[in-house]
């Protein structure tokens, strides 16, 4: 990270004025700091993905299959028939420019090809040339291609696709403003599917996918190690609270199966959120005899298959229902994660349902029916916790979070692929006294991405990530300066990792907390000792001078 740009240097580079000339005449310059490393052959082989090989995006020769153009052509054709979204989004854009300055990557990098409209035009230009009547006729006239905005599929175009479809975090912010609802996420998804047909994935996606398929989670944590991690948290929590919160694993006949992203188990500060879940489940077990089980087989809530292809997404997601069925639970509870919830909310039931072996979810403690989940049978933990708090079922000590001056980052997928906006806010406000919203153009459905979603949270593309993080960081800095906000709450595992890096880079005074870390701090466990520290082993407010 030594050659990394300093924040000031990055800010100096921000310029939203496009160069002169036509973008179609530009050739792609794949730049270190922006691109992510290529997928390793082993990772592609796990799922039998095409064309596994060692390759480097900086090389001229990408070792494509001989008939790669045919593969792409047929791939586009198949997807136009399978996805109405794709076909319509290829056809109806009028290039009004409303989306142009909505993308965090455009705002942060100033690269005009990061304007959502041009990201889509990368594909559309080939579509117009090869699939539309006008394009086919124009291609025969000299100069006609240019008139119609078409261009033939070449290696240069392919490289441009690869470079820019892996500079989109599928956050859908542009889609909110588009008069036709054109969703660049959908176009990026198609683009990445096509690239995957040629073995052109990035390693930060392909390896988690491979791990998840084999060992049950992205990080490749084997069952015993998964248990070890939670045992380790159990020890920490016992030291802080005096209560043994040991979770149960793979238990048949439990009431609820709990699935969360493995990032919560492995990466700080997600680990503290994980401890929050454990404290909550222990509380519910002791107070209300609710049996929640974890699974080592379905030990991943996230789904990097979603960033690869619809088929890969389905193959990874299948474990959730399969495990719920094997264990015979009543319904599934899902942890704090962004894209995981887009998959659960908009894809899971369609792909791997019907979940007729599960019950329509009811909170056994409050009697609340989760009407909005009655078919998919999976409930978001902030829906669950908000319901418990609303019914006064949790004993909370807000003062333990009184040193946290909060704001909340809406994660892209729960915001724009679900609409989970009030539930996490309600939870936060119930356990913290100080809450301030960021400016309205940067929250809720207009929220800005962390800049590292959709599989781009690698190390080698740090310049891209920090540039893409600028709009979010800028809003965090605004509330930090204005209200002394020191804590950024979130409900996404990638956010917990990515926003921490973002804050360290742009707003070092702000720390990142998962919502259930705050809940875990505030929740008063039956029989607990007087707590002197929070879950991070830092002194609680007013306990700074307390002896150990």
């Amino acid at each position: 990270m030594s050659d990394e740009l300093k924040p000031d240097e990055l800010l100096d580079k921000v310029d939203h004025t496009p160069a002169s000339g036509s973008w179609m005449d530009t050739t792609v310059q794949i730049r270190p700091g922006i691109f992510s490393y290529a997928a390793k052959p082993d990772s592609l082989e796990t799922l039998g993905a095409p064309n596994p090989r060692q390759w480097n995006p900086l090389d001229d020769d990408w070792q494509l299959p001989e008939n790669w153009q045919e593969i792409i052509h047929n791939g586009i054709k198949e997807r136009l028939e399978k996805f109405r979204t794709f076909k319509i989004f290829m056809d109806v854009c009028v290039r009004c420019g409303a989306c142009a300055d909505k993308c965090h990557f455009f705002l942060g990098t100033g690269d005009p090809l990061n304007m959502p409209v041009l990201r889509a035009e990368l594909l559309r230009s080939v579509y117009r040339n090869d699939f539309t009547t006008a394009g086919k006729i124009l291609a025969k006239i000299p100069g006609g291609q240019k008139l119609g905005g078409g261009r033939p599929m070449t290696v240069d175009v392919l490289k441009q696709w690869w470079y820019y479809f892996f500079q989109c975090t599928e956050c859908r912010r542009c889609s909110v403003f588009c008069p036709y609802g054109i969703d660049t996420a959908e176009i990026t998804i198609m683009g990445r599917e096509l690239l995957n047909l040629l073995g052109l994935n990035i390693d930060w996606i392909a390896t988690p996918v491979s791990n998840c398929y084999q060992t049950g989670n992205h990080l490749g944590i084997q069952p015993h190690a998964f248990k070890d991690m939670l045992d380790f948290f159990t020890e920490d929590i016992e030291e802080i609270t005096g209560v043994n919160v040991a979770p149960q694993f793979n238990v048949k006949g439990a009431d609820i199966l709990f699935i969360t992203p493995s990032g919560d188990v492995f990466a700080d500060p997600g680990t503290y959120t994980c401890q929050g879940y454990m404290i909550l489940f222990k509380y519910l077990k002791d107070k209300y005899d609710l049996n929640v089980t974890w699974s080592t087989y379905a030990s991943e809530g996230g789904n990097f298959g979603f960033f690869t292809s619809h088929e890969t997404m389905k193959r990874l997601n299948a474990k959730m229902y399969a495990e719920a069925k094997r264990l015979g639970v009543k319904w599934i509870l899902g942890g704090e994660c962004g894209h995981m919830w887009r998959v659960i909310n908009q894809y899971m039931d369609t792909m791997n349902g019907p979940a007729d072996f599960l019950e329509e979810p009811v909170n056994p403690i409050t009697g609340t029916k989760f009407e909005n989940a009655k078919s998919t049978k999976m409930v978001h933990i902030t829906e669950f916790t908000a319901d418990l708090i609303k019914h006064g079922k949790l004993e909370l000590d807000k003062s333990r979070n009184s040193n946290r001056i909060m704001t909340f980052h809406d994660s892209c997928n729960p915001a724009r692929g679900m609409g989970l906006l009030e539930e996490p806010r309600y939870c936060i406000k119930s356990v913290c006294d100080n809450f301030f919203e960021m400016p309205e153009n940067t929250i809720r459905e207009q929220t800005f991405c962390c800049g590292s979603g959709a599989g781009l949270n690698a190390g080698e593309n740090i310049e891209l990530r920090m540039a893409g993080a600028l709009p979010r960081a800028n809003a965090v800095k605004y509330v930090h300066d204005k209200f002394d906000v020191n804590t950024l709450g979130t409900i996404c595992a990638i956010d917990r990792a990515a926003l921490s890096t973002l804050c360290e880079y742009w707003v070092p005074e702000v720390e990142v907390y998962g919502v259930h870390e705050l809940v875990g701090n505030a929740l008063i466990l039956p029989g607990e000792k007087k707590r002197t520290t929070d879950l991070r082993m830092e002194p609680l407010p007013g306990m700074e001078d307390e002896d150990e």
Binding site: L11, V14, H16, P18, W23, K82, F83, R84, T85, K87, D91, V92, C93, R95, C96, G97, D101, L107, P112, V117, E121, G148, G149, V176, F177, P179, Y180, G181, E186, Y213, Q214, T215, Q222, P223, H224, K227, D228, V251, T296, Y297, R315, A318, K319, I344, Y347, D349, T350, G353, N372, S375, T376, E383, G417, M418, G419, P439, E445, P471, N474, Y478
Partner: protein
């Protein structure tokens, strides 16, 4: 950059000259007044239906609305029923607002960045694209409906009402129709945006300028005929009624300007199905807007859903059994 708009501008100008000269010089009224309009309407109808059928024939495998408000959730949390609808009624309202008021575009903001000690990114409400687009589309619609006067006999009452309101600012004679002037002004605004806004200019294709120039050409010729050259209205009506009753006639005393107008309108009609102007149909079918966010409530069926290989629990346990037993994790088979 300039050729992106100089070529379409030249093209539209040539189309105008072609029709004008063809009528005034070569006496080809029958071609520009009869053959071309019939062919254009046919191309429009066939092409439009073909394109919409093409979209409709593509599957909708997943229900993926873009949600722009609070979901239906716990009973005490207020749902945004329009921007995050879970019912058909909600979707209907969302679509009506989208199609008639361009609601998404109404949200448009403009980002600005000032490099100073604060280095703040700011976002301000950007209403002009929305205003321009709305003015353009409604003026176009009003002009189109007013032209029904030429194709229907007797003239329907609603057309007369529309004309009354359109000409309510009584400026001179003939009365100035606001819609025509507004159409021209809005089209010029949208054109100016495409040329002078650096970002919009950068993303624009020749195919984006062509219909704008064409519509400007149509508006200008129309305005010229109405207010300046005072085209023979009775002759025009004889001509248009001939077209719709399939007894085409070429009236005396109607000149090249009129045929150039008709020719450009014909080109526009024929051009719609092969261009981005199909957005008028596509907006109805956009899955991110016309679907309810209720996938967790009601299972959506993917017509091409197929079985996939998964790594089963049995395979997983076979792989890790010893380690699981050592760690005290429950297993299905002991060996």
């Amino acid at each position: 950059m300039k050729q992106k708009y100089m070529l379409p501008l030249t093209g539209v100008f040539l189309l105008f000259v072609l029709a004008y000269a063809g009528v005034e010089g070569a006496g080809m009224q029958w071609f520009f007044g009869i053959v071309v309009p019939y062919a254009a309407v046919l191309a429009f109808l066939a092409g439009f239906v073909y394109r919409v059928m093409g979209w409709a024939s593509s599957a909708v495998p997943f229900r993926i609305p873009t949600t722009c408000g609070q979901q239906k959730s716990l009973p005490w949390i207020k749902q945004n029923r329009i921007d995050n609808p879970d019912t058909t009624a909600g979707v209907f309202v969302r679509m009506v607002l989208e199609i008639t008021l361009f609601r998404s575009l109404f949200r448009n903001t403009k980002a600005a960045f000032n490099r100073n000690e604060k280095s703040r990114l700011t976002y301000s409400w950007e209403i002009f694209l929305w205003l321009g687009a709305l003015a353009f589309h409604y003026a176009f619609l009003a002009v189109l409906l007013r032209h029904l006067r030429f194709f229907l006999n007797p003239v329907p009452a609603f057309v007369k009402v529309l004309e009354y309101f359109d000409g309510i600012i009584q400026l001179g004679l003939p009365i100035v129709m606001i819609s025509g002037v507004l159409l021209l002004a809005a089209a010029l605004f949208l054109l100016a945006r495409r040329i002078f806004d650096e970002k919009v200019s950068y993303i624009s294709l020749a195919a984006d300028y062509f219909p704008l120039f064409l519509i400007i050409g149509i508006a200008v010729t129309g305005i010229f005929m109405r207010y300046f050259t005072k085209v023979d209205i009775l002759g025009v009506k004889t001509f248009t009624m001939g077209l719709v009753t399939f007894h085409p006639v070429i009236p005396e005393g109607v000149g090249g300007l009129f045929y150039a107008h008709v020719f450009m309108v014909s080109i526009l009609f024929a051009y719609i199905p092969v261009s981005k102007l199909m957005h008028m149909g596509g907006v109805f079918l956009s899955p991110t807007r016309n679907m309810a966010n209720n996938t967790r409530i009601k299972r959506h069926i993917n017509p091409w859903n197929y079985d996939v290989d998964i790594h089963t629990y049995e395979q997983y346990e076979d792989h890790f059994r010893d380690k699981m037993i050592d760690a005290g994790l429950p297993v299905d088979k002991k060996e």
